[in-house]
Symmetry: C2
Subunit: 247 residues, 2 copies
């Protein structure tokens, strides 16, 4: 794989981080050098399994992926979605053992970064290390917001909030238009993320569509009036920490 290829593939990550802090050219090069491989996964495939002890971490370059957990009766819970520019399992660099599975919801391309290379970065690039730390902290902030939404909002608000979140994150990654973003998954996947039945997802979706708050065909989400949807969902983007600061 050529360096300038990897560089291009890393742009979504760079822009996601650049929205929060400055990234020097040397830091970018260190990251590009750390990516040794590229892989592709078809929709529905497992990218990593709970319990794995991977020796690499994966940066999602395109597509939609999810972290999942399972309960005994076959129930499945999606704990977060990932889009281009997100690390899928950077936590495993430190935690070693994966406490969740990673699933490709659409076709996905990933860059592979060996933990040995990441270790080298933490030993020699303190600021870049803090930015990698930041990346995992953003996951945590999203988890907390999901907990709030799961626990204290009804189905309609919950769904509206999720669409707001994915819209804002897609905008930060540069893959959204002014009023739409790619969201390629099934209603049943969405149900697994919202902790509801797919039947109720279907009805909730119809309600939001009827209110003119959003539309979605399983591939692309359209938001007519973004401000109105955000008001409805009590959505405050602060938890995404989209502000330039010295980290």
């Amino acid at each position: 794989m050529m360096a300038h290829d990897k560089r291009a593939l890393m742009e979504p990550f760079f822009s996601r981080i650049a929205a929060r802090d400055a990234l020097s050219e040397a830091e970018k090069q260190a990251l590009v050098a750390a990516a040794v491989d590229q892989r592709s996964y078809a929709a529905g495939n497992t990218i990593a399994r709970e319990g794995d002890v991977p020796l690499t971490s994966m940066l999602l370059v395109s597509g939609l992926a999810a972290r999942v957990g399972y309960v005994q009766n076959g129930g499945r819970q999606i704990t977060t979605f990932h889009i281009a520019g997100d690390f899928l399992d950077l936590n495993a660099f430190i935690l070693k053992r994966l406490d969740h599975g990673v699933l490709a919801l659409s076709a996905c391309d990933v860059l592979v970064l060996p933990h040995s290379a990441l270790l080298e970065i933490t030993e020699t690039h303190p600021h870049l290390s803090r930015l990698l730390w930041l990346s995992t902290l953003l996951d945590g902030a999203i988890h907390r917001q999901w907990l709030l939404v799961h626990g204290r909002m009804d189905a309609r608000e919950h769904m509206a909030h999720l669409f707001c979140e994915m819209f804002e994150r897609s905008r930060a990654a540069g893959i959204a238009t002014a009023s739409s973003f790619p969201f390629p998954l099934t209603q049943s996947d969405l149900a697994d993320a919202m902790g509801m039945s797919s039947v109720h997802v279907n009805r909730t979706l119809q309600a939001l569509r009827a209110e003119g708050l959003l539309s979605w065909d399983g591939m692309t989400a359209e938001i007519g009036d973004v401000a109105r949807l955000m008001r409805f969902a009590q959505f405050d983007p602060a938890f995404l920490h989209l502000d330039q600061r010295q980290r």
Copy 2:
């Protein structure tokens, strides 16, 4: 404040980390040196407010605290509990802005570590930095488990799982007995953590008590048969990452 005082207060944190990786004497001293102050909060008091941009992070030394989020209608969601040895807002060292409040559920003592001192650590102690990173990743792992439990378990399993988690974490911090641990909060606080009404918490609690799975008087939780409770809750401690590894 004397150095040997701070040292003693930091032991719960050291033992929590030592359960996951070795901590050198130099690293311990760097942390002790970073703690410049100690504070106490009475039960019910706010330790930090959502939206704050703190210049320090706080290490809980004793008591029970919680991170909380709010929705417009006055609803409150606790997103995680913290016990002795946990950082309450280490994420703010990198994220800068707090995306959640921190609440003292019982009387709490904390050590205060300025971000400037933490910055110094990340610049000079790569391994210790990774251990601080680890501490925030454990929060994330617990968040994911909560999401799974919120979304895919009923009230009884949910409550049983929470008691298992707090028992295991208390054991790791060295503040549990063989079958009990301190858990000083109200049923209403518990409801805010489980995303339920306090009425239903009360009834669920009675059901678990009637089954002989656990008892709790608002101060201390008692588990008769730990293995049985864990089986009931489908509790697998893997997500707590309680294994010694080189991180």
